[in-house]
Point group: C2
Chain length 209, copies 2
Amino acid sequence: MEQTSKLRLGILGSGKGSNMAAIADACAVAGYPAEIAVVVSDVPGAGILDKARERGIRAEVLPPGRFRTKLDDAAERAYIGALQEARVDLVVLAGFMRILKGDFLLAYPERVINIHPSLLPSFPGLEAWRQALDYGVKVTGCTVHLVDQGVDTGPILAQATVRILEDDTAESLHERIQQAERVLYPQTIESLARGTLKVAGRKSRIIAR
Amino acid sequence: MEQTSKLRLGILGSGKGSNMAAIADACAVAGYPAEIAVVVSDVPGAGILDKARERGIRAEVLPPGRFRTKLDDAAERAYIGALQEARVDLVVLAGFMRILKGDFLLAYPERVINIHPSLLPSFPGLEAWRQALDYGVKVTGCTVHLVDQGVDTGPILAQATVRILEDDTAESLHERIQQAERVLYPQTIESLARGTLKVAGRKSRIIAR
C-alpha cells in the first residue's frame, strides 16, 4: 500500500459512525496519508450517514438484500460497484453489522479491515465487551484485523488494551473500549497507508521506512 | 481467607520452580501475609525441589500414578494427605503439569489457584506463549485463576499484559511472560491472604479493608 497520493478509504457502517468520525478527523490533519472516498451504510437514517455528509463526505445507502446478517449476491455486487466507482483502495468496516464473504473479499484481497471490541481471539462475535465482563477478565481491549472468511478470525494488525474497573458496567466498559478504538483505528490506517505495517500470513509487523 | 496468622501455602510444581522461588522471596519479606508450608512435585529431581530445600522449605516427591496428564485416585489421595498434614490453606500450582479433578477440588474448594501464560480465555492449554505468537496477537500476558473442573477455565483473579515485540521468538516472549508471572503471582496471593480479593461466581474484585 505504498503510494505518494493519499490512500482512498471506503468506510462501511451501520451505526452512529463514531469510528468513521475519528478517521475523518485524522484525515483532516495535514500530512495524514489517507482520505475517505465514500461512506456506505446498509441502514437508512444511520448516524454515520449524517456525520459523513456534515463533513462533506459522499455517503450512500445500499440495501443489503434479503438476509439478516450478510449481504446477498446482488447487494454484494452493488457494494463492490460503489467502492470501485469511488476508486477505493482500502475498505474499512466501522460498525458494519453484516458479514462479508467470497466475492467481496476477492474484489479487495487483504484490503478489508475491521475493528473488534475485544482482544481477539477472546470474545469474537456480538457484544464482545459484555462477553468480557461476564467472563470476568481483568483486561480487554480492541483489535484491528484483516477480514477473512471467518468471523473475527483474520490476521491481527493492531491491538490496544483496556483494563476492566471494579465498578464497570457493560456501558462504561464499552465506552472506554470505543475511546481506545478511536485512537487505534486511525493509527493503524496511517501505518497501512505509509506502508510501514506489513502482513505476511497471520503475522503483521511494523517496518522502518 | 481472612486471618491473623499467615496463610499456609502448598505449592505443586513439576519444573524449575521459578514461580515458587518468587513466592518464597515474597514470603521472606517482613509483613507478607503468607508462608510456604510444603512444596510437592511429581517429578523426582525437578528444580523446584532443590530451590525449596535451599530455602529451608519442606519439599516432597509424590508419584503421580499411572496416567500421563493427571493424578490417579491413589496419587490424588496421597497429595491431599500431604497438603492436609502440612495444614495448607491454599494450594498454589506453579508449573504443575497434571490436571487436578474432582476429589482434589472438593478437598480444597475455591482454594486451588494456578497461573497460566496467556490472557485467558485466549490460548488455554500447553505452550500458550507459542500459541499467541503463532496466532499473531500483539498483546498477551498471564492470568491467575481459580482451578475448576475445566482446563484453564476457572474464575480469573488477576491478569497482567505483555506486549509482543517485532523480533520476539517463542523463547524471548516466554521469558518476558515469566517475568510478569513472578510479579503477579505473589501479589495475587497477598491479596487473597489479606482478604482484599473476593470471588463471587465468575467475578473477582478487590475490596477495601
